[in-house]
Amino acid sequence: MSTTQAAPAAPEEAAPLPMRRSRLHNNERRAGIGFTAPAVLLIVVFLVIPVLLSFALGFTNARMGSMENPGFTGLTNFVRALTKDPTFWDALRNIAIFVLVVVPLQGGLGLVLALLVNQKIRGITTFRVVFFMPVVTSMVVVSMLWKFMYQKDGLINAITGLNVDWLNETHTALPAVIVMSVWQGVGFQMILWLSGLQSINHDLYEAASLDGAGRWQQFRNVTMPGLRPTFVFIFITITISAFSLFTQIDVMTNGGPSNATTTLVYHIIQMGSSRGDVGYGSALSLIFFVIVLAVTLLQRFLTREED
């Protein structure tokens, strides 16, 4: 989710300005508002209003198809989620596992790949393109392909010589989805790390090697501190996108087997859309929002710049 910030208003000038300046200034401001209006309008219509609506609907028994007079039900939906809905807890468990595994794995692998392709060898562009390819392929297509590969008579078993029905066994389904998700997204993290690497001033490396620092010491004392802002950015964006895991689940497993791969977003869509229980789905979204917000704030706190 991106946040938009209104351009800061121009500070009030103490002294009256010459006429021409202020008119130009007003014109610029009008133009600025004009240019931002379309984006602001779209964000309000498609993001702000739905978000506010779902906050309100979470406290009602609104249903798809008869949205006219939803009745106010207070905290009923929230109580139901926390006490009468085992799928909710399964979803929470799965998403926790997913985030805890995918964030370090995808971030770390992305860094390794970035270091590998950040060299001046012939043909290195080819590698960059190959690693980045899954990112620009539609997630639905990638999920379909992996679904076939994970089948009992699929490619994965053919290569490994195993005979596992990956997506239909409770203990292998989530790991299978994790492997596929890490592979799909790692190219994007690689590009981010790469841009971080290339923004580090080259003189620092020269100075370090003059001081007799080896490869590892250079990495520890030049590269790592230089990558700090990139690290913070990647850490937080992977976490948020890992939380909203949905497409792979919808295409590959439908949350099964026995809730082994269901996630909060998948559960919200099942309840709110497929089963038409808009009120309950909204309540779940609200809970999801609070969880993601809390985790993100915690991350911001942990990675704050220590002055």
């Binding site: 014109n27 309008l41 008869s66 009992k152 029905d165 038409g276 229980d277």
Partner: protein, 431 residues
């Protein structure tokens, strides 16, 4: 005045944004001269045979009179119900639309569908499961019916000393268990039976609730549709759940199959459970060796899933369009079209007289698929006629998948009941 340019340009950019906010899929209505346009939604996109017949009916109808012009919009079946849900929420429904039989009561209850105006006289010749009746009104009409049967091979049964089941004498539960054991022991097949659990969606309740009913359970208490307690989690339902789980635990069936269920044709399984639409392919593979049988009787009679897609009129029809829509329905109910549908789909024609007109040789006295009609008549069991059905369907699918994957039967069935009852309660269907 140059300084005004940026503002003007920026406001231009607003135009598409505003257009996004209020778009509508309703076609323009010609007024006065020319025929009145009526939009029709079909779920058959991608199904060449069905599309061909639908197109033919619409063209013939438009050519037969000057008052109305039916305009077709196609949707793939998987996306159809979601599209209707979305359109209903934004007031964009078409006037004539397809509806899957078990979902009809829900749409009628939501007010999306309106009584079609068809009378009992109009539908007297139709199979009962093709007439969508709710609250004493006829809402929708189907041109064919489809039921579920077991496909197997006479030669395999004979080799393993298993009786060939008939419509009048289906296998008993014990006979079926014995047959599965024998076939498994023969070692000739990867699995005994392909239940079709690799498919998803409405197929689950359609295909497996008849098994549940054969054990004596049901999806919901049909006396007043107010609860699933006692029927979906009672002792009979638990027996069913345990039996179903066992089918996979014992290795009789695979949980996931080939994408298009080719195992039976390839000789990897001995039996195949499916809709009657599979007949043509099965016959192509095995000819007269192919056996079409009803499901085994697990104590409460053999059962078969019936009820399929139908067509009805929606709340979006103006009074004038509704007349046209009704005229279209009656036009499409002609025997020649019903026969044509049956010929391209191999499904059961909705009327006897249409069955006589079919040219494929599937239906009619002494024809191979006469059995499907008999199974429908004797064992057909429609899914619960209640607006709560879509949720019942989705809960049952998920719960039974969990049971298949080894979840505890009793607690899974109890949870299904909790969810179904919560939905009936919160929607207030019974108030």
């Amino acid at each position: 005045m140059f300084h005004k340019k940026p503002v003007a340009l920026a406001s231009l950019a607003l135009v598409p944004a505003l257009a996004l906010v209020g778009c509508s899929s309703q076609g323009s209505h010609s007024s006065g001269d020319g025929p009145l346009e009526i939009t029709l939604w079909t779920h058959s996109a991608g199904n060449e045979g069905e599309m061909e017949v639908v197109t033919q009916i619409i063209d013939d109808f438009n050519a037969s009179q000057d008052d109305y012009k039916v305009v077709r919009q196609d949707f793939p079946q998987d996306a159809y119900n979601d599209s209707v849900q979305g359109a209903a929420a934004s007031g964009d429904l078409p006037c004539i639309m397809d509806v899957d039989a078990p979902v009809m009561p829900n749409w009628a209850n939501n007010g999306w569908l309106v009584p079609s105006g068809l009378t009992e006289e109009d539908t007297a010749d139709f199979l009962p499961s093709t007439v969508g009746t709710y609250d004493g009104e006829i809402y929708s009409i189907g041109f064919w019916d489809v039921n579920t049967v077991l496909f197997t091979r006479a030669s395999v049964l004979e080799a393993n000393d298993i009786r060939v089941p008939t419509v009048d004498e289906p296998w008993t539960a014990d006979e079926f268990a014995d047959a599965e054991k024998k076939i498994q022991a023969s070692g000739e097949f990867d699995y005994v039976i392909d239940w079709g659990t690799g498919s998803s969606g409405e197929w689950w309740p359609y295909a497996y609730s008849p098994l549940l009913q054969s054990f004596g359970g049901d999806l919901v208490d049909r006396s007043d549709y107010s609860t699933a307690d006692g029927v979906l989690n009672g002792p009979e339902a638990q027996k069913f759940g345990a039996w179903f789980q066992d089918q996979f635990a014992q290795g009789y069936a695979s949980k996931s199959g080939a994408q298009d269920r080719t195992e039976f044709k390839d000789g990897k399984v001995a039996m195949h459970y499916d809709g009657i639409w599979e007949y043509a392919e099965g016959y192509e593979a095995y000819g007269d060796d192919l056996v079409v049988a009803p499901l085994p009787d697990f104590g409460n009679g053999s059962k078969a899933g019936v009820g399929s897609w139908q067509t009805g009129l929606s709340q979006a029809c103006t009074a004038e369009q509704k007349e046209g829509g009704l005229a279209y329905l009656k036009f499409a109910m002609k025997d020649e079209y019903i026969a044509q549908f049956s010929d391209v789909t191999s499904l059961i024609p909705a009327t006897e007289s249409a069955a006589e007109l079919t040219t494929k040789g599937y239906y009619g006295e002494g024809k191979p698929l006469q059995i499907a009609q008999e199974v429908s008549d004797k064992y057909g069991e429609v899914r619960p006629v209640t607006p709560g059905y879509p949720v019942i369907s989705s809960v049952f699918e998920k719960g039974l998948q969990d049971i298949m994957n080894g979840s505890d039967v009793k607690s899974t069935e109890d949870q299904m009941v909790v969810e179904i009852d919560a939905d009936i309660e919160s929607a207030g269907y019974n108030n």
